[in-house]
Amino acid sequence: MPVFEYAPAPESRDLANLKPSYRPFIDGEFVDGGGEPLKTVNPATEEVLAEVSTASAADIDTAVKAARKAFEKTWGPMPGSERAKYLFRIARLIQERSRELAVLETLDNGKPIKESRDSDLPLVAAHFFYHAGWADKLDYAGYGPDPKPLGVAGQIIPWNFPLLMLAWKIAPALATGNTVVLKPAETTPLTALVFGEICQQAGLPPGVVNILPGAGDVGARLVGHPGIDKIAFTGSTEVGKLIQRQVAGTPKRLTLELGGKAANVVFDDAPLDQAVEGIVNGIFFNQGHVCCAGSRLLAQESVAEELLDKLRHRISTLRLGDPLDKNTDVGAINSAEQLTRIRELADSGEAEGAQRWTSPCPVPDRGFFFAPTVFSGVHQSMRIAREEIFGPVLSVLTFRTPDEAVAKANNTPYGLSAGIWSEKGSRILWTANRLRAGVVWANTFNRFDPAAPFGGYQESGFGREGGRTGLEGYLSV
């Protein structure tokens, strides 16, 4: 019998308008950075995409000064209704250029085009639209009659959702009247720099948004800079702790959105086929490079085996490969370093006695790829149940009673998200009340909306992004 072989359906990479070099965006202009230039790589092919000029200490000074000046002279004093116009304009420009940005994001990050096109970019635009709506309504947001912006926000974002994390940081900061110095991740700076072009197109006053590519040292200098009033960081718990130490004792405000090891709890009365979809979406979306990924599946023992069979069947249909192909479900791991880390942790799972199952999907010879992997027979004491793997690796644990499910789900240093699968409303509410996580999804997973606050407990950080609560992080209230 013939097999249904889908022909390759690649999106054109020309749409990305890729340039050979990119430069920092400071005070409304693209300028040569004084730092050591870096090369950004397409993780799916390992080819160098572009050379990126990075920021030196002097560049950071210039950017912070520009942001301060813009805050004092133009952006801060501007009426909210005027700021809203700029934000709406940015949102519309993002929509207009969304194909270009989606392709560029996929080239630089390795995520499948269908995700950058259908998830990332619509959400990026939505965040700007949503926060544009808030800009002139802050007096009515419940923070008192006249909440004030903080000043200059230093923002550091990760490589898993380069443009979306930029939107999560920049949109609320600008809506509330702050100005911004943002450092994109070392491996994925390109879309952030194209966002600089969008700021120019929108006629945003110089200095309101500054974008400084670079590695951890640029981030550290930014965090330590005395001209910054607020630090917002999304990234690893390890770096988050360093930042918290560095900021301690200074007047700087801080929000941290860090790692996670979310439990996805499947009760025996769950809609199993949809639970399987939710589990797949929870851990294999964006190759598992999601801080709120549902990386620990907690399955009730009475359905665990059936659920696992269905899950393996489903995972076998995931198509791994060229991220620009519209039929690709799982793209490339963002960097060689991350791939090494995933491999190391997966090997530890095997060494500790968990049963490893890997999808039989073909894996490309070139590029950084890791086939979807499921560990069953996992226990809370194993590394793969405790540490964030940040890759397409699912750890499956079982439980017998709702109390045990809650106990195991909460038995983690993290607390960013959780999922519950049950057809019984009362059980969903009972469980949700007991899970210590910033977001609890019921019968779905990895759903985002600009109006829904997002953030963590414990080692997953503090502060919220999105919604009315998210505005508070950028206001003096």
Binding site: F4, A270, D309, T317, K326, T444
Partner: protein, 317 residues
């Protein structure tokens, strides 16, 4: 009343009305939002070039070319059989359709028109499309079809009985029809548009499989909504789960409202990824359609010729 091949747990489920109800209501629920989201997401697969051509040919070979009108005549059925034999006269390499589907009184004409082709003759028996008659009448309907030479019988279930929770009655109806079919294949029409919820679709699917239906079919084509992608997803999950439990392969047939090649390909992708590639054969998947075939033929020509030829280039029968 259970079939001998069933594993103990399933055989037990059909012991009496109460166990049947317990079993059907014990099946995992279907989350409406989830199944619709999955169906929408899977429908965005990009199929082109060689895979599209393969999909078109496969879809043609799965078509049950259908005419089910009060105004059907022997002439209309003869025209349809001619089309089934040679869907595209200018392109003899075009695959034949799977079957021609007519009312029982026209089966003999269809059989005659398809002699020697290997194309099946399907007939909608059992008081189609409402299913509202006595079992006696339904069985007489089936007998007429089978005696006239139908190789496939498409029966409708009594949706009233199902919705009233009289599962045992529906089960026995299907069993009785299956017995009356003899060697003919039995397709059980659930009329999912009248069952409304996905939970009901899943229960009715299992009921039909337990009672021995060779195929589960979405619709009569007389009720809106007819076939939809999410409903077909639920039914594909049912036959896949049935295979996992019993090792038996049963088929799925969406019918009604599938008119374009683009739609047909979305269904094939669902067959491929929800049930598995084993189901990508006319033995296990059919399209109940009358106008779909022409669009498939036009798209087939477009793929081969590199340009679109227009509706006047295919037969309108």
């Amino acid at each position: 009343m259970s079939a001998p091949t069933l594993p103990a747990a399933l055989a037990d489920a059909t012991r009496d009305d109460a166990s049947l109800r317990r079993f059907l209501h014990g099946l995992p629920g279907v989350d409406q939002v989830g199944v619709e989201a999955r169906a929408t997401a899977l429908a965005t697969r990009s199929i082109k070039k060689s895979s599209k051509l393969w999909a078109i040919d496969t879809a043609i070979s799965m078509v049950d070319l259908t005419t089910l009108e009060g105004a059907d005549t022997h002439g209309k059925v003869r025209a349809l059989t001619a089309k089934a034999r040679r869907p595209d006269p200018e392109r003899p390499d075009t695959p034949q359709v799977a079957a021609v589907c007519v009312y029982p009184d026209l089966v003999a004409t269809a059989v005659d028109g398809l002699k020697g082709t290997g194309i099946g003759v399907a007939s909608v028996a059992t008081a189609f499309p409402s299913g509202r008659s006595s079992r006696q009448v339904k069985l007489a309907d089936v007998a007429l079809a089978v005696e006239s030479g139908a190789t496939e019988v498409d029966m409708v279930i009594d949706r009233g009985a199902f919705l009233e929770g009289r599962y045992g009655e529906v089960f026995e109806d299907i069993q009785a029809v299956k017995a009356a079919c003899g060697d003919a294949h039995l397709k059980v029409i659930l009329e999912t548009g009248e069952l409304v919820t996905y939970d009901n679709v899943r229960r009715a699917s299992w009921l039909a499989l337990l009672a021995g239906g060779d195929f589960i079919k979405t619709s009569t084509g007389k009720v809106s909504p007819a076939a939809t992608l999410p409903v077909t997803h639920v039914m594909l999950q049912a036959v896949r789960d049935w295979f996992t439990t019993t090792g038996e392969l049963r088929g799925v047939k969406p019918a009604g409202g599938i008119r374009t090649t683009k739609d047909a390909i979305k269904y094939l992708v669902a067959v491929h990824e929800v049930a598995g590639e084993q189901w990508l054969t006319p033995e296990l998947f059919r399209f109940g359609a009358s106008s779909l075939l022409n669009d498939l033929l036009l798209q087939r020509r477009t793929q081969h010729d590199g340009h679109y030829s227009g509706p006047d280039y295919v037969a309108v029968d």
